[in-house]
């Protein structure tokens, strides 16, 4: 075998011309391979910009392809896709699902992570990928070690799941990988990302609660969550409030994680000062706070969660499509790995998945006497 760059396999002669003189109507990979003196598989990889082919060779092959007017045939492409789907084990590109060790607050006893993973896993199988979990951070893999493992195993696809805001970047050799982030928009580098549409979630909650008769809707969330989610909850509330009368605009209660132990004091104070008739929050821990503060739901105040877990089908609020987030992230990654789009993109694009409303006992339909209720406080 030749050691010259690009000559990884012996070139084959082109198929003999059928009729001398008749110009060929179309050219195949084999024609380009013969002319460029490389194997057809090298041409295939080169035209898809595979990093295993040296850039100079890629350029040379592309030039030949252009000269011949070669074009990828989308019909054959589609056929291949279809055939690959029917034989899911024929090709198992391996994909890493990377989570951070320090995200326990978000995941402890929680519904979120398993759902995202399940969605990604299902999509991975549909596209003939296998999905494997890697944990980075304190007590687990260091980024450099992860990089080594992924390279050694030939893993090219990386899904990054939620990372805490104090982790600002993950140092992998990104040019080697196709990668999509899930939720962690703050994490450098600016890879394409898939996220729940928290802005839509907050707007939907505001609208549904208003339709149920509530007029003093108050958002309570942590400052850390606001930062992590690009202030989407607060923004959704503000956008809705912009088209509401002034006497319906409740200033949000944004608390810091350090204030969590005194929430049982902060929340009643804020409720009283602003005549809140329903609280919306992404914190299901608030149930404990209500119990401590002797607040009865929904008599004293109604309550809707911005992220209702599947284990609470009786609670009012917005259900987020975590499973679909995982699925869409994996689908996008599959397209990227198929077309070898590695590294950090020219401009980041973010895909947002909407949530849907669920009625529940914590926010029953309110009788149209909002004014009377206000005065009773």
């Amino acid at each position: 075998m030749s050691k010259a760059p690009g000559k990884t396999a012996r070139p084959r002669p082109a198929a003999p011309e059928r009729a001398a003189g008749a110009p060929k109507q179309y050219y195949t990979l084999a024609d380009i391979a013969a002319k460029a003196e490389v194997h057809a598989t090298t041409v295939s990889l080169a035209l898809r910009d595979h990093p295993s082919i040296p850039p100079a060779t890629r350029a040379r092959i592309r030039a030949v392809a252009k000269e011949f007017g070669y074009q990828r045939d989308p019909l054959l492409d589609a056929l291949n896709f279809h055939r690959a789907q029917r034989h899911p084990h024929a090709r198992r590109a391996s994909t890493a699902f990377v989570v951070h060790a320090g995200t326990t607050r978000l995941f402890s006893g929680n519904h979120y992570q398993p759902l995202v993973y399940a969605g990604a896993k299902a999509a991975a199988e549909a596209h003939g990928h296998s999905l494997e979990i890697f944990v980075v951070g304190q007590g687990h893999l260091a980024p450099a070690r992860l990089n080594t493992i992924l390279t050694a195993r030939g893993v090219t696809g990386v899904l990054l799941s939620t990372f805490e805001i104090d982790i600002e970047q993950l140092d992998l050799d990104w040019n080697q990988f196709c990668a999509v982030k899930i939720e962690c928009l703050h994490l450098a580098p600016n890879l394409d990302a898939v996220s729940n549409d928290q802005l839509q979630v907050a707007r939907l909650a505001m609208r549904r609660l208003r339709a149920l008769g509530y007029r003093r809707i108050g958002l309570a969330t942590a400052r850390e969550d606001q930062t992590r989610l690009g202030e989407s909850f607060g923004m959704g509330v503000l956008v809705e409030q912009a088209s509401l009368p002034e006497n319906e605009c409740v200033p949000p209660l944004i608390f810091s994680l350090a204030e969590v132990p005194i929430l049982h004091r902060l929340i009643p104070e804020w409720m009283r000062a602003n005549h809140v008739d329903v609280i919306i929050s992404n914190w299901n821990e608030l149930f404990d706070v209500f119990a401590t503060a002797h607040i009865k739901l929904p008599d004293d105040v109604a309550f809707a969660l911005l992220d209702v877990p599947p284990s609470m089908p009786h609670i009012a609020g917005v259900v987020q499509n975590h499973r679909l987030v995982g699925q869409r992230a994996m689908e996008q990654l599959a397209i990227m790995t198929d077309s070898y789009q590695r590294g950090v993109p020219e401009a980041q694009s973010v895909t947002y998945i909407p949530g849907y409303w669920q009625d529940g006992v914590t926010a029953p339909k309110k009788l149209r006497s909002g004014v009377a209720a206000l005065e009773a406080l």
Binding site: Q25, Y26, Q71, R72, D73, P74, L75, L76, D77, A78, L79, F81, H82, Q85, R86, P88, A118, G119, K121, A122, A123, E125, A126, N190, D197, L199, G230, E231, G234, M235, G236, L238, V239, A242, N321, R323, L324, Q327, R328, E331, I335, E346, A347, Q348, S349, V350, T351, Y352, I353, P354
Partner: protein, 359 residues
């Protein structure tokens, strides 16, 4: 339509029913099925009806890509002409209106991506002097086009009502228009927030946002959302209420409106998504940047010299929309998805002499 959530829950890829499945269900030979579903006269009518009913029941749908492939094989050629994706616009091309530069950038990005994936983009216009719903659906049917990009439909102009279940569709902007499918856009919300922060860092105190109601409607009010969020973090005395100007405002009207609004609220910089913003302000008798500075939210080539603002990557917006349609065509998922998502491509800031650093 298959529920994507349900398909995922079963943990197995949803397999599309094939002719073979219809054959097994009905007991006819596969070739009979094929002929019957194409309405071939050699198959008795009642047999055809029976087969069609079963096909519908088990959810058989012809995959347009394979259909085209086998058609061309039968005709003795291996390579078919590139299948087409329709890129539908409604700005009124037939009435002689010229495509605006930012729409041109989007289109070029879509064309490049389509070519890269082996498709050909066919630009189609709807409007009073162009296609209506009827002629458009005929054209698509006659040319076996099932992939459609609705490209930056403008409110107040013609709309279409195709039988969306038969098409793979993605929209660029066009939030006001049917159907409810995946939307690809530049991220107006973050663009406004980024511009606001950049201008604040340059020393501006009273930043005014001027955006057309038409653009607000196509973007789902994302300019306003970003602006409101930024206003919430500054003291009330520095807040300038946004100017949302009506549909069909021309440059001269807008100039007057902006000049009065700048004066009333003492704005020191105008943030607008029109690329002609500097000329419009100067046309109303204000000097830029001496009387008021300005920045554009949608910079694209050909760019007025020295204009500061946000540069969206509109070619990527066009490209992503085509990718979404191709992905659906490839896997044969026609019709709107159960849960349509939104895809926003991020933008970058660019300094310019229209908004210099303030002393």
């Amino acid at each position: 339509m298959k529920d994507p959530l349900e398909a995922a829950a079963q943990g197995a890829p949803a397999r599309r029913p094939t002719l073979k499945d219809v054959a097994r269900e009905t007991g006819f030979h596969i070739t009979t099925i094929s002929l019957a579903l194409r309405g071939h006269s050699s198959i008795p009518v009642h047999t055809r009806e029976k087969i069609e009913a079963v096909a519908q029941q088990i959810g058989y749908q012809r995959n347009p890509v394979f259909h085209a492939l086998s058609r061309f094989r039968q005709q003795g050629r291996v390579r078919a002409p590139a299948p087409r994706i329709a890129y539908v616009e409604n700005y009124g091309a037939g009435s002689g209106i010229v495509r605006q530069p930012h729409l041109q950038v989007m289109l070029e990005g879509a064309e490049r991506q389509a070519e890269l994936l082996g498709y050909q983009l066919e630009v189609l216009a709807v409007g009073e002097d162009d296609h209506d719903t009827r002629s458009l659906s005929h054209h698509l049917r006659d040319n076996h086009i099932t992939g459609v990009v609705l490209a930056a439909f403008q409110p107040g102009f013609a709309e279409v009502a195709l039988n969306w279940d038969d098409y793979a569709v993605a929209k660029i902007h066009s939030r006001h228009a049917e159907p409810n499918v995946t939307v690809v856009a530049n991220d107006q919300l973050r663009e406004v927030r980024m511009a606001f922060r950049q201008l604040t860092a340059l020393g501006y105190q009273r930043i005014g946002l001027a955006v057309g109601r038409a653009d607000e409607d196509t973007s789902g009010h994302r300019h306003a959302a970003g602006y409101l969020m930024e206003l919430a973090s500054i003291p009330p005395e520095r807040q300038v209420p946004p100017l949302f100007f009506p549909y069909n405002t021309n440059g001269e009207m807008l100039g007057g409106m902006i000049a009065r609004w700048v004066k009333r609220h003492q704005a020191d910089v105008v943030l607008c998504n029109w690329i002609s913003i500097r000329g419009i302000i100067e046309g109303a008798g204000l000097r830029v940047p001496q009387d008021v500075a300005c920045a554009c939210l949608c910079l694209c080539d050909p760019m007025p010299a020295g204009l500061a603002g946000v540069r969206p990557h509109l070619h990527l917006v066009g490209a992503r929309a085509v990718s979404i349609v191709v992905t659906q065509l490839k896997s044969g998922q026609l019709g709107p998805a159960e849960v349509p998502s939104s895809i926003y491509v991020q933008s970058t800031w660019q300094d310019g002499s229209s908004a210099p650093r303030r002393a």
